[in-house]
Amino acid sequence: MSRFSYSDEMLTRLLKVPQTIACVGLSINPIRPSYYVARYLQLKGFRIIPVNPAYAGKEVLGETVLASLAEITTPVDIVDIFRRSEFAGAVVDEALEMRPMPRTIWMQIGVIDEAAALRAEAKGLTVVMDRCPKIEYQRLFGELRMGGFATGIISSKL
């Protein structure tokens, strides 16, 4: 279990479509988890902007891969970080240089940088660490129920 706790209400709000998500560290290999996540979110109606210097200029998911967040010219709502924890802080600092700034920073499962999270929160951003937006989306919007997973959602409403 993650030691970070976020309410379902907050996560549901953060994952409203449509939004633009910059995926930092996105792989172009279709069996890598980052590709899986981005493709899923794109299918759900999010716009994905791939960021990965290793694949800059290549096409993935119908979008051109950019080398850094600084190259993005459209407003971004969420920066989703698919990098190891030790590289996450630098990505957060780059995100804070964007104008307009993104509203949300997501760090994937296992990605944690509490100091960077505090820097972003100080600038008014919302930060989620150690979570996958795909899993949370699937859990909150009824999809994981279809696989028999414990969603934690109890409701007598339609």
């Binding site: 299918l43 899993i135 999809e143 994981l144 997973f149 109890i154």
Partner: protein, 430 residues
């Protein structure tokens, strides 16, 4: 997985998994009696087949009624997910399948349901697997029995045929030391009396045939994953960490994290082994589970009364109920099973095998059946039935010696159960 408010057991046993039906508003979970499901479009179909999206394809893999039961049991056990199976025995194979390759072995408790002893000592050999049986009161012996091909540890919480409860925390410690998952068959306890994950177990299996359904109507099983076993740490279980050829080289643990075992259970286990739970079975079990806590309380209360009465009866040699103060496991029950030691126990009749057979022939309220966990009280002479395939040593170790009768105490009036046993004992020992 959720950080939202947690609910009590009695609320979850009714509500977990079952929101009103989105298509009709039906409040009770409908029986979705369908084999296949229409795809929205080609992209949706491709995403489902690639495991990029969760949804319904074909009822060998997933079904809306079964999914409600899976989520309900996963929730009550405190796990991340569950896979429904056609029986408890199917669930055991489904639990082992992702862990084992030919040449691999498990360490299992000697105190198991007789059918499980047979499954592990005979049938799994045909897959090239094997089991070593060890006294689980001796944690050091478990460790000593393990080798580099040991891939799991298996035991029951409250054991069938009764009289023994496992100290799960001490076994979990051994499992962690060996870097293998501890699988607990929680059939006789149900999550109401014991949640093995709270004691450090990694996987739980159930025969939902028993207390979860409660009325003796359907056979079913379930495998529950805690999500707490790190498959990559020691890397002993290749199916969960290595590229899966049938899914373009996808690695389950890398892709699905704590949900890897459940995804594997659906995408490989049910897909290729096909030991699927039927929607009608899931429906019956869902109905039963709505009253699980109420029934278990009464089962335990009645078992205490009947066991205490038997223990004082001169026609009875001994009673093995772990809930009795005289049990050698009384302290363990108090500490690890505070809501009770279940409703399953054995007693030895003076007069041995012959008297046991006569006793079983003379009961009127107790039913002579090979089952447990029914609302009805049940009786069986294990040595001549369920444990017949075992050697005398195995029978003894499993608590099913020839002079022993097993009771599964139901939720009738305890006084009537005692009267019935009284007259049958009189007939058996006259």
């Amino acid at each position: 997985m959720s950080d939202s408010p947690s609910y009590g057991f009695d609320t979850l046993q009714i509500h977990a998994g079952s929101r009103p039906d989105p298509a009709t508003g039906a409040r009770q979970t409908p029986i979705y009696q369908t084999t296949a499901y229409v795809f929205r479009d080609a992209d949706h179909a491709a995403a489902l087949f690639n495991l990029q999206e969760v949804g319904y394809i074909y009822s060998r893999l997933t079904n809306p009624t079964v999914a409600v039961l899976q989520e309900r049991i996963a929730t009550l056990e405190g796990g991340v997910g569950a896979v429904g199976c056609s029986s408890g025995h199917a669930a055991q194979i489904m639990a082992l399948f992702p862990l084992m390759r030919p040449g691999d072995n498990i360490i299992a408790s000697t105190r198991l349901y007789g059918g499980t002893v047979t499954q592990f000592s005979q049938t799994i050999k045909r897959f090239g697997w094997s089991a070593t049986f060890v006294d689980f009161d001796d944690a050091a012996a478990i460790e000593a029995a393990a080798d580099e091909n040991t891939k799991a540890i298996f035991c029951e919480s409250i054991c069938n045929p009764g009289g023994y409860v496992t100290d799960l925390a001490s076994i979990a410690t051994v499992a962690n030391k060996l870097d293998v998952p501890l699988i607990v068959d929680n059939t006789s306890a149900t999550p109401y009396l014991c949640r093995p994950f709270d004691h450090g177990a990694h996987l739980v299996v159930h025969s939902t045939t028993k207390y979860l359904t409660g009325n003796g109507t359907v056979t079913g099983g379930v495998v529950v994953d805690s999500g707490n076993f790190d498959w990559t740490k020691a890397g002993k279980h290749p199916s969960l960490i290595e590229p899966e050829p049938a899914y373009h080289g996808l690695k389950f643990h890398e892709t699905f994290g704590p949900m890897a075992f459940t995804f594997h259970g659906i995408a490989i286990g049910l897909r290729d082994l096909g030991m699927t739970m039927s929607p009608n079975t899931a429906f019956q079990t869902l109905l039963g589970m709505e009253t699980l806590s109420l029934r278990m309380e009464r089962h335990v209360e009645n078992a205490m009364k009947v066991a205490a009465w038997l223990e004082k009866d001169p026609r009875v040699d001994y009673v093995t109920y772990a809930g009795l103060p005289s049990s050698p496991y009384a302290d363990r029950v108090k500490k690890h099973y505070p809501k009770g030691a279940g409703a399953l126990f054995t007693f030895a009749v003076k007069g041995g095998y012959e008297a046991c057979v006569k006793l079983v022939d003379n009961v009127e309220i107790f039913s002579h059946v090979a089952n447990l966990g029914d609302t009805r009280s049940l009786i069986i002479h294990s040595a001549s039935t369920t444990h017949r395939q075992l050697t005398p040593e195995q029978q003894e170790a499993a608590g099913a010696a020839p002079n022993v009768v097993r009771l599964s105490i139901g939720i009738e009036d305890a006084d009537d159960l005692i009267k019935d046993l009284d007259q049958a004992l009189a007939a058996a020992t006259s």
